[in-house]
Assembly symmetry: C2
Homo-oligomer: 491 residues x 2
Amino acid sequence: MSTPSSDTTEKELDAVLEAAAAAQTGLAALPTTARAEMLRRIADALDGAAGDLVPLANEETGLPVQPRLVGELGRTTFQLRLLADAVEEGSYLEATLDSPDPSWPAGGRPDMRRMLLPIGPVVVFAASNFPFAFSVAGGDTAAALAVGCPVVVKTNPGHPLVSALTGAVVSAALAAAGLPDGAIALVDGEEAGRAVVQDPRIKAGAFTGSAAGGRALFDLANARPDPIPFYAEMGSVNPVFVTEPAARDRGKDIADGYLASFTLGMGQFCTKPGLFFVPAAAAQSIEDRLVAGLADRPAARLLNERIAEGYTRTLAGLAGHPAVRVLHAGRDSAAGPAPTLLGTSAAELLAHHAELAVEVFGPTSIVVRYSSDDELLACARSFTGELTATIQGDGEEEVADLLLAELTDRAGRVLWNGWPTGVAVTYAMHHGGPYPATTSSLHTSVGATSLRRFLRPVAYQNMPQHLLPKALRDGNPLGIPRRVDGMPHPR
Amino acid sequence: MSTPSSDTTEKELDAVLEAAAAAQTGLAALPTTARAEMLRRIADALDGAAGDLVPLANEETGLPVQPRLVGELGRTTFQLRLLADAVEEGSYLEATLDSPDPSWPAGGRPDMRRMLLPIGPVVVFAASNFPFAFSVAGGDTAAALAVGCPVVVKTNPGHPLVSALTGAVVSAALAAAGLPDGAIALVDGEEAGRAVVQDPRIKAGAFTGSAAGGRALFDLANARPDPIPFYAEMGSVNPVFVTEPAARDRGKDIADGYLASFTLGMGQFCTKPGLFFVPAAAAQSIEDRLVAGLADRPAARLLNERIAEGYTRTLAGLAGHPAVRVLHAGRDSAAGPAPTLLGTSAAELLAHHAELAVEVFGPTSIVVRYSSDDELLACARSFTGELTATIQGDGEEEVADLLLAELTDRAGRVLWNGWPTGVAVTYAMHHGGPYPATTSSLHTSVGATSLRRFLRPVAYQNMPQHLLPKALRDGNPLGIPRRVDGMPHPR
């Protein structure tokens, strides 16, 4: 285990990048079954080290052991195993075969075969709020390794010891399996992070964190002589829209669900609901219930000093805004803040959108009273890019269709009668959205299709059988789903 | 038909962008069958206008009517029809359904359904060298319209009349079918082009043209407050590698094929082979045959003044380079240049790669003599990003594997015993490659998967049936291929 407290030096960094570049060929050449096996070995090793990892993460982040950290580690190893399954299943390769056809229009069709190949070494910037699931062995790392890309992780300074231990566990699992050295390495420090994203040996980047940090790294990636894709997931306001019939029929349950969602993990989720639109007629009773529910919510520590400072500053700005009422002021303790609830009106939100629709990373949210469906729709249209948007409705109201259309244009995930916190790791999950939620609305950082970020297509024209990758050979030796002459063939 | 000679004014531009934004909803809401029908109507209308379009294109570009322009228009309308088929077939939507599963690890799996939706209005920058296939109604426009994105075309100044007529034919076809107004519009002038790519109503861009132009627009797209994907295809050197056995056994045929490929269309293709690696032992006889073949090649006009000037300048720089020999100097006429052949050695290429491995847009190419397989591999490794790379081999030589591995890392398409000019419009075609061939190695501008550039995923969580898009409803009412609980179901 290396000393986690000192920043990576220039010389160390060069060695890490050289090793990553050198690992590329061996990692890419592994059969998909071997790469799947590698992911499962990493998952097993992490599960085996839970007794060391979880207490360390608890100490460094203040997140509770149960259910949070134990659950998060389980989610992390499940993610590795799900991606192992996806790699083995083989659809992700998008193997596509066109047979030769001299009668094909515009000059005939040659034998053409396309598949996706690893893009090359990837830099992953770890997040502060998920010491396992979005850190050293989190989703970005899992996706890159899964498709055959070596990973350089820029660790998050909020949990240096758990980062170093995770890295050591993963490296040991790879070494024990005789897998390529250099497939994963850690670097520490902001300067090192900026250097890695600009290094020509790095071919793509992924990031989970703040808007300012994500944009700065995205700009560096694009300013390179050879720009690289940089997938930054930068958070979101995650508005929730309660229709009139839903507020009337289920107001109490909706209030309770909202309260649980925005205070979960002390509000330190990129999917935390930050704005809660309720019809004026039901607003008072919903607000009363929320305020009552918040009365005995304890103060608790936030992840780290920087986040605590940012929270205090953003909250002060919002609470002091002339358009905002403080519905419940959380009573801070020495440990940290207690949840706070603010209120405003739809008219004020529309007038001051840029100041009020801001992400507060911590346990604060704003109730927004609206007075008509038209005003609700105007509010929906005032957003640009969100990870999630949620409707609480009864399904029969006329506004639901219209609201859904507006939200679908603006969010990566649209929920019905649910809560945005909790991002299931599944095949269909999309954890992304238009800017400023992410820097690439085409991609997701969670779920089976997260693999696609680190793959690029190559077409082979008239290539002899023995030179083709197995995935593209006649007779489908890997037994994977392929598209042949335009039609899907599942096996 | 609007006056094509004057640049679009700021006021006209605003109206165009407003119309594009307004067309988005209607175009996206069309059923896939109606969008496919729309593409076929456009194709029919263009075929019907061939008698006007082809002579105009001939006049403006100097490209021959037969087989070139007639063939190119046929390729263009075929492309529209192929994308119509791809849209109807429905795989492109990537419809993915996860059924609810409370036992799913990490908190249970909700009902989650994912599909791809149109990204929004797209700006397309037309190329000079394909007045039909990469211009107003070319591949980028076809792909954007196919998935439901309105298009603003920045016309190429090299063929203003054919651009305006194509735009009018397409608009009339859309209007006759009662399709959304504003689905396509043209703007003229560099200033207008820069304004469009920075306008918040535009959500993606595509470009075919020079490295300088593509990079400048890519930088503008990324510097926006809300960056958008910008897919620039910027050309390539397209190296061809002839192995020793191939040169020995098929030297004459290979020389003839190369000559035909690099002079095709007066060398004005982004896939023109610019470097031709031949073994030293066979080099003299191959060069002799090439020089003999070039003796009676006539001079001809290039596309336009700017391209002619650029060609003359780049050629002069190469021909005057101390490492370069002039094997055959084309005799220019008043009309334009005749093909020129240059020569150098692998050692010189490796020493002066940045100066010698440059794209010459016009009928010039360089023969590179190499003296060993190791030197050939070193040359292959000296490239970074190419649209294509070609091997001429016999398949049994040891170097073929190694060469293919290096080239696959660097090119979007790898050919065996073929020639890179001629980009078939098929399902498996990949016309792209790592930077500097393009600004996004993940995407293609030709073939069925070109649709992917203008689509973004959205996930629907626990959404009632009647609010879901038809593509995601229970019972698969559209009858499209979908992925259900992780497994592909073709229908």
